[in-house]
Symmetry: C3
Subunit: 454 residues, 3 copies
């Protein structure tokens, strides 16, 4: 096959590597699930006996009914929310939705195992016993990996993303264990555990994979009218279901109730302030879709760690108020600065939506819990370290010339990894011939072709 067209120096053919990775890892899952994973007492056919021996009078007390509606909302956020949010690029929407689908579907399996070993191991039998809460946590873990994908969007191959998932899920499980079980922190909505970790993990990888000539793909690094609308589907489902995200694994009763209320309120405030800052910083007060698609969500990220706390409705409002402002400023001013001066190419701006608001959420939670500043430091360190150091190592692995990543002039282009339809219908008949030629290039590798066709 070779790499005749897509680049002078890159082979983007993944016909061997992608199926190989998928099969090897999936077979490993089957084996490991076979050895380790069983149903927990609430999902097992012995639930009837369990109820009797534990004096439970109704099936309604099965944790399934407390958490399943929230689980489904979280599930939508991970696949539709993250997936569609990243469709904003004009010609990378297949990759955004499709690779999200792949890496989250793989990642959740590995997460069930990794998190299971840490949190759901039955020591008497050596089995991981899973129930609805494990599914939620596995989805959360994929959320962390997908945040990292946001920084890398358009610049990596699906094989690389499988590697990012494998290591990301592993690191996530470790840092989560440290934060929740060793440091005994609450972080029901994962401000630190999910967002800050995922943010720094992705940024570190992106920093290592810096492409000095990325501007060769500049013409594809932007949106078109309808791709921005597809992205709004992602934004809205994230925004709407975030109360479920932050309450899904909170305590039964007032814990879940309060977490949902706090998140609902915080998010409402961040929409209003994100709009205000967006309008202030653009010509004629025009709104920028990037801000509306992203910064409006910052209130949800920051409320993650303290959603369960008695932070008061006005406390939530204040959190959303400032995070909407900070995040929008980040998209407008910090990201360009980071790209220029720190060589940090962050396609979706995860620094502004996840890394920073997540960190803020950690601080807020520390303030509310009246922690000593030393404790706060000890708390943030493992997350930051796991993210950046883990990300740096993964980044170096991804620099090996075996993963099929695109050349600088083929970034943000679905034609590298997808069969893309020709869209001739949107072009009027008189132009059909020209257009046919212009779009034909994806097949050029496989035949002799005349340079004049370019």
């Amino acid at each position: 096959m070779g790499n005749c067209f897509f680049s002078q120096d890159k082979n983007t053919n993944v016909r061997v590597s992608l199926p190989a990775v998928c099969f090897v890892w999936e077979i490993a899952m089957v084996v490991l699930f076979g050895i380790f994973v069983r149903y927990n007492e609430e999902a097992d056919a012995h639930w009837g006996e369990y109820k009797k021996t534990h004096n439970i009078t109704t099936d309604m007390e099965n944790d399934f009914y407390y958490r399943y509606p929230s689980f489904q909302d979280v599930h939508v956020m991970i696949f539709v929310g993250f997936g569609f949010l990243m469709t904003f690029l004009k010609r990378y929407s297949f990759g955004a939705v499709g690779f999200t689908f792949l890496i989250a579907a793989f990642g959740l399996q590995w997460a069930l195992l990794m998190q299971g070993w840490f949190h759901s191991l039955d020591y008497s039998t050596g089995k991981i016993l899973i129930g609805i809460e494990n599914l939620i946590n596995a989805d959360f873990c994929c959320g962390g990996v997908l945040i990292a994908f946001g920084a890398l969007l358009g610049k990596v191959s699906p094989v690389q993303m499988m590697v990012v998932s494998l290591f990301g899920v592993t690191l996530y499980a470790v840092e989560e264990y440290i934060i929740l079980n060793l440091l005994h922190c609450r972080d029901a909505g994962g401000s630190m555990v999910i967002h800050t970790f995922g943010g720094y993990y992705g940024l570190a990888i992106s920093w290592i994979l810096y492409r000095p000539n990325l501007n060769k793909s500049k013409h594809l690094n932007g949106s078109v009218y309808h791709s921005d609308l597809f992205a709004m589907i992602g934004t809205l489902f994230l925004w709407l279901f975030w109360p479920s995200f932050n309450s899904a694994i909170a305590n039964h009763g007032d814990g879940q109730h309060r977490a949902a209320i706090n998140t609902y309120i915080s998010l409402a405030a961040s929409v209003v302030t994100a709009v205000a800052i967006s309008s202030m910083t653009e010509k004629r007060g025009r709104l920028d879709m990037v801000h509306i698609q992203n910064a409006t969500l910052a209130g949800g990220v920051a409320m993650g760690a303290s959603a369960e706390f008695m932070i008061s409705p006005y406390g939530s409002l204040i959190v959303g108020f400032f995070c909407g402002i900070i995040s929008t400023f980040g998209f407008k001013f910090v990201s360009p600065f980071l790209e220029k001066h720190l060589k940090l190419q962050d396609t979706c701006g995860i620094h502004n939506l996840h890394a920073v608001p997540g960190m803020l959420g950690g601080f807020i939670s520390a303030i509310v819990a009246a922690m000593a500043s030393e404790s706060v430091y000890k708390l943030t360190l493992p997350v930051y370290s796991a993210g950046t150091q883990g990300g740096a190592i993964v980044g170096l692995i991804l620099k090996l010339p075996i993963w099929g990543d695109p050349a600088d002039d083929n970034c943000f282009d679905d034609e590298v990894y997808w069969e893309v339809p020709e869209d001739e219908e949107s072009i009027p008949p008189v132009l059909e011939y020209n257009n046919h030629m212009a779009h034909k290039h994806q097949d050029r590798c496989d035949s002799n072709y005349n340079l004049e066709q370019l």
Copy 2:
């Protein structure tokens, strides 16, 4: 800046006014929430004690578990449903989704306060105590405002819509209090309280803001193929979750159960009859997307007031049957008539989907409850008055030349208030230069430009 390009006589620059309004109102929210809003006993950390003192044996009895799934469905309806339903215009989809996002996010905060003072005030402490039902009601209230937005779509500035929200939420809370608490009516799904009110409020504003030269923007007042598909996302999520809308605040147990069944059935019937009428009234029996997107929902609107009643499944079917017919006829014949003879410009046809079916819903509920016709009159009056009189006053306020609304030839155009991507990718290379010129106009204000470029 000035108003050099977008109009001869209108300044659409909202760079000062929009951030100013957003910040002033959001800061007011923070202050008022700080003074007034607290968690209710089911969302408060004292829930444990409350359970004991009230002999509640399980967290499952927390109202959260009765209502949260329905709340999330309603939440999706307000933001995705209303937002995407209005994306049908070919070049106002950003405004449809984005302004829906803004005004509902602001509106729900103000609604928590306004409705809280009327319904959830703890007189001993002077605090509003909120729980999941307050969130649902706040979303409902935003629904009323968004209905009004439907009549105004494309013709108002975001600043004006913030004004419409502020007054709309206030009026809503008042008329709701009169209907539910003073007149002791049931209207769980808000036929009257939400739809009729929102409908007449929007129509009155639109009537005051009549634009005799709106046909200057006629070329943008229509759909394209994919914008109609985006609108169907809105339609379907509204249609699918309407059983949750009408059952969300119904009584526990059979009340919620029955409200969901009645709404499900009524909506199914209105799809079939809307299709029938749409086909009958078009050439060759072709269906009109406007009817499918809107009139199919009429059965849900009309069932609002009587969803909880023992109206029988066939009763619901009859309601949907006739409302699908009436609404489709409205879109086909009544709206053009109103525009021509009553100078009523109603972008989304809310008269046919909300005002009329909502009123019908009120009558049906009165018939089922065997009310005297005098009572019916007393019932509809406050809703109609609040809507039309309130709307007229708000309309007059919006006529002040300070709100940045678009000129007649700039209506239905996202470029006025949004940074719109250039979409050059969809146009074949040979046309790039022409297209570049054609699309460049949004930047023309800021430099000398040559008229020949037009």
Copy 3:
């Protein structure tokens, strides 16, 4: 009117037939609902008394709370999932979403009756007593009909689809009764009852309606970039909510819990293997959207029958693993073979997503339940017979020249049954005249026109 333009030999005018069918059938529904359908004890105002006489202490025990969240997910799958999955065709997206809407809204009413007579008839009063589980089952039944629609997509008129629904729902209710009540099988997620039945029903109809000259519409039988993205909305909502589909009518407690877990796991595996096979079978390892949109779902179909069983998490993983492979191979190799050699035109490839994985699901369930192979045979026979024989008869009915189906050169074209906007905005100004002409053809029937305009 006549059929001047759309075909030489077909009249696609449905202006009489479509409204007539809609009205006749909807009036029949009103009458039959009036005679037969009432609320069951949990949706009836007598629920309060029922609770007392049955020693139920809380409204939470109302089946509504066990099933409503899953019902809403199923509801989304039927209308958004199936509807949008079929929008992949470049110019049949209105038909995909709109006809799904129509036939499911009609079908669920008829299903409430048909399934009610078989399963929910109160013999003392002769009434069908409905509750939330009936709504779920009615949606399931529509799922079967929509699967059949997948094979016929673009080649039939809406009137024909109403006929397909009427007979499909009827046949479904019969085969379901045989499988569940006479043969006493469990099939909570409907591998056999829904997917295999719907698959063979649709394939049989399509086989009878074979069009030898369908390649006249070949240019429309494909996707464009954004239509593939719309289809992914359908795919994802199907994939995400499939755990609800398979658990919605499972037993309370561990049954629903386990069904959700098994389905979640199986689906995750089928994504990874579908991607692997898709990449293996395409040039340069590029992924094919058809596989990602469809084969990723095969794990959910196959888990339907055994979702409730103690199949173990690794069992579910194995099911998903193989079904993802088999389904992708089906799309790549079997469908073209069937079309060429068996004259089976299957627009959406339901053979690979529903018929085969559904059958596999039946076998898996038989293996898990340790059934004799003779029993398996007896089990599959009624489903297969109802599907193919019923489908063949319906196909013959649909061959009557009265249904307004499109000619071979008008298949996959929304302009036959829909008012389609002209989309002139997406084309640059210099081409407006040409384009105007090109798109004007939908009105040509109604006036004299000059052939030179073509």
